[in-house]
Symmetry: C2
Subunit: 330 residues, 2 copies
């Protein structure tokens, strides 16, 4: 599994290395803040090893649809700035300590400064979106912001609730992750001026990829170590966030084990031993396996939506990215 | 003065009463959140007696430029939602207790919920802006958000600095107030598809109105009582914000009085007596009078920019609004 995963990762990385370097440069060139403090805070998050999945998806989607005007790299920053804006706000909201293996911004600067830098990044995203001259892309950015802010409030409101349903979980991850990834793919298609059918196909590809991606992320919170994860495992539990592995296991556990799981997760200072006990439970009641199968379902759906496109280098990378969404270990 | 001011206010209000009622309705109709909590938080601020100056300015500007398509009311909500979004973030940032005479939202709900509701309002603003189909209006919204977030960070960064210059003050109020008011006027002109000269005139009108408006606001912090102001007077000093009346007086005061003023303003729990002593100093060194004259200068400039327009009901109201910006007592 590890060998296959690494091979897939290396293949994708070698195919997109040039684009990633250009995206990196565009992210630095287009930030353009007036104040050094804003540059410091935004840069701390932006240039700390993000995967650049969202801009990459816009670039690949635009090219897959035959876009030839040459602005896909600069426009791709829209979705990384937007993503970074929401991460800054979410870290303040969740009081997270780590982000991408680094100290979270609001642990270095004051929370108000971090909130306002998030606003600035959102504005940069918007400003570049307006340069596309496509109101449809602005609508997408607006919809993403509406969905993500409400999704985050929804999650906050449901924190600590032990009876969260699978459906409620799906709604939360749709709003907080899938809508943004869908928007990046959709916008690439819009830029290329492609027909509705292919636009919808890429939008659906992004939705399913996003759902799979978030489920894989939620699994990693139980299965990865701090170094590969870039944050402390078990963070979701500490924050009172129930994700699918737990939700499913709770629904299947017998009375005794259910009580045991509930006791484990209600302790905000969960120990490594307790976390391991919990993970044993998630295996026993197949919460891990069930989540994996759900994520695989979305990966299959994502790949299937690409049927409407001819074979191409871009299509090939998008297919690999879908596979990698659930194979990754960070 | 009071009689003249009230007559002006009543004349404006009777001229725009119908529009204000329609704006109020549009603000309620277009909010459309998915979650009751978002509706509660946003509604708490939005429907607590705002003056609706920004939407009104868009409506009047659009009509002054001959806009006849009938969407000026719905599009005017762009600038009230944007304004409300920044107020929610600013109140969290400044830890304010009161807003428009009511308990500030973050004193009722959790700060994270308030921040995210701010994001939602920004997204609503954007979503309606995208419906105009004018990328220029999106650029304006983006620029406003960039300027305001940076202006607020700038102000935060300079808090407590006793050597703030008049120029630095002007830059702060430009970014935090004038840019938004300018954007509302400018967008009205864009909607109407008017020529560059008139677009620029309305944009400049908005800029000068905004500058005058903020200076008047900063004066009110020293001269109004809690009931008319809707927040506690002296709030700026308590927050360590130096505004023009103080900046000017500090620059003119002799050594002894300068020391006295500095001692007064460096006490975060400034008493009513100390505030009154401070106000005496602001009169003694003409900080109040100087700020009034600067505000009047901007009002004159604002009115002058309207010379390019023929006489009309809208022009007349815009002229009165400029006068009222510095005559108001709330």
């Amino acid at each position: 599994m590890t060998g296959k995963r690494d091979a897939l990762k290396n293949k994708i990385l070698s195919d997109v290395a040039g684009d990633l370097a250009e995206i990196e440069k565009a992210l630095a060139d287009n930030l353009a803040p007036r104040l050094p403090l804003v540059s410091d805070i935004a840069g701390h998050l932006l240039f700390s090893g993000g995967k650049r999945l969202r801009p990459l998806l816009l670039v690949l989607s635009a090219r897959l649809c035959g876009y030839k005007e040459g602005y896909e790299i600069v426009f791709s920053t829209i979705f990384e700035y937007l993503h970074a804006a929401t991460l800054l706000h979410d870290d303040v909201v969740d009081q997270a300590d780590l982000r991408r293996g680094n100290t979270a911004a609001h642990r270095i600067w004051k929370a108000p400064e971090v909130i306002l830098t998030g606003d600035f990044l959102l504005a940069r995203s918007l400003s570049i979106a307006s340069r596309t001259k496509y109101p449809e892309i602005i609508e997408i950015v607006a919809e993403i912001t509406e969905e993500m802010s409400q999704g985050e409030i929804d999650q906050l409101d449901k924190k600590g609730r032990l009876d969260l349903s699978e459906q409620e979980y799906m709604e939360i991850i749709r709003a907080k992750t899938a809508v943004l990834i869908r928007g990046a793919c959709h916008s690439g298609a819009v830029l290329a001026g492609i027909d509705e059918k292919r636009k919808r196909a890429l939008s659906e590809y992004g939705f399913h990829l996003g759902m799979a991606f978030q489920m894989a992320d939620d699994l990693l919170d139980y299965t990865a170590d701090v170094k590969t994860l870039g944050k402390t495992p078990g963070a979701d539990i500490r924050e009172g966030k129930l994700t699918l592995p737990l939700i499913f296991s709770l629904s299947k556990a017998d009375e005794t084990d259910r009580k045991k799981i509930e006791d484990l997760i209600q302790n905000p200072d969960i120990s490594v031993k307790a976390l391991n006990d919990l993970i044993d439970m998630l295996h026993k009641y197949n919460g891990i396996g069930y989540t994996e199968s759900k994520a695989e379902f979305h990966v299959k759906k994502a790949k299937k939506t690409l049927d409407v496109f001819e074979r191409s280098q871009e299509k090939n990378i998008l297919m690999m990215l879908a596979d990698y969404a659930i194979a990754r270990n960070y």
